[in-house]
Symmetry: C2
Subunit: 193 residues, 2 copies
């Protein structure tokens, strides 16, 4: 159910097509909420049916068409309502820690492969999030710049501060996961002796 709020968060800056949104998902919001195109297009249609957004068909060249969506008043209200409402947390379902808990059943080599994989996974995320953080600090994220353009100057600091806060949290999480897996590698070494 969060997908539509991720989409609304982007659309509140200004009208975008499904394709544009999809591109943004591999950048800005996509860093906290991934969604493939096959999920975005149908969700936009549903949101339009629910009256949260409205699509306008634009011609592109001679026969090309694109639907550009903008947020309706109802959509804006729905977004703000979500923002004021309690978040529902998913129950824990963590494949990496599930495996870690029974790692005695794996060979030391497999255990090391798993832990190295975990490090690689989170180093990838870390790089993404640190990159985002750099773009936030330098005001070089195009979506953030567009957002600031439609935001009263008095709210610029807030807007930037919460983005920085978010990505700092993610960076810390990634570092935590990496440190944990390194500990695990040491443990596997110790146990082998």
């Amino acid at each position: 159910m969060s997908l539509r709020y991720a989409l609304l968060a982007l659309l509140r800056v200004g009208p975008l097509s499904g394709y544009d949104l999809q591109k943004q998902f591999s950048q800005s919001v996509g860093h906290v909420w991934h969604a493939p195109d096959s999920q975005i297009y149908p969700e936009l249609r549903k949101m339009e049916l629910d009256g949260l957004i409205e699509g306008e068909e634009q011609t592109r060249g001679l026969r090309g068409v694109r639907r550009v969506y903008h947020v309706t008043d109802a959509g804006n209200r729905s977004y703000l309502d979500w923002m004021e409402s309690p978040l529902d947390y998913q129950r824990v379902r963590d494949p990496a820690h599930l495996r870690a808990a029974y790692l005695e059943a794996a060979s030391p080599e497999a255990a090391r492969r798993f832990l190295r994989g975990h490090i690689a996974q989170w180093e990838g995320e870390l790089e993404q999030w640190q990159g985002e953080l750099t773009h936030i600090e330098a005001l070089s994220n195009p979506m953030l710049v567009r957002r600031l353009e439609v935001t009263p100057a008095a709210d610029h600091a807030r807007t930037i501060a919460f983005k920085r806060f978010t990505y700092e949290g993610l960076v810390e999480r990634a570092r935590g996961e990496i440190a944990w897996a390194r500990q695990g590698l040491k443990l596997v070494d110790d146990l082998e002796r």
Copy 2:
């Protein structure tokens, strides 16, 4: 797809019924992989069809029946294969950080409610995981004791070490989330001035 490996991890210690497994899910494995009964019973049936486990119908009292499942050779192999295979990581989909990133759209009170909720959420998890850790150190977790009983003495240290490692990681993660949300509360205070 991890559910069946969580179930196999438990069943490898000894035969259990769907009901027993369901109970264990709210304790041992459930701390890293939640599953409701409505998901466990059908999954066990599917695993039996796939030949990973075998169920034996036992009578309970006069008319009561219960199916007690045990792992087959194929099930054991499947589990060990999974243990040696690379883990597939889910794409990031994080409602808390999604909201945090756009917290400028919320009122300061709502922002505080959200952050306090986040702290409460992770303090709950922290308590669970710290409790588990205590039970591991004290060897007072019944499932762990049963596991050690069917494990060669030479592997006891390994078995315990990986459990401790897992829950230490989870405890650290929870602490990280709590620290992050506390930072957020400070930020909301600072921005209000």
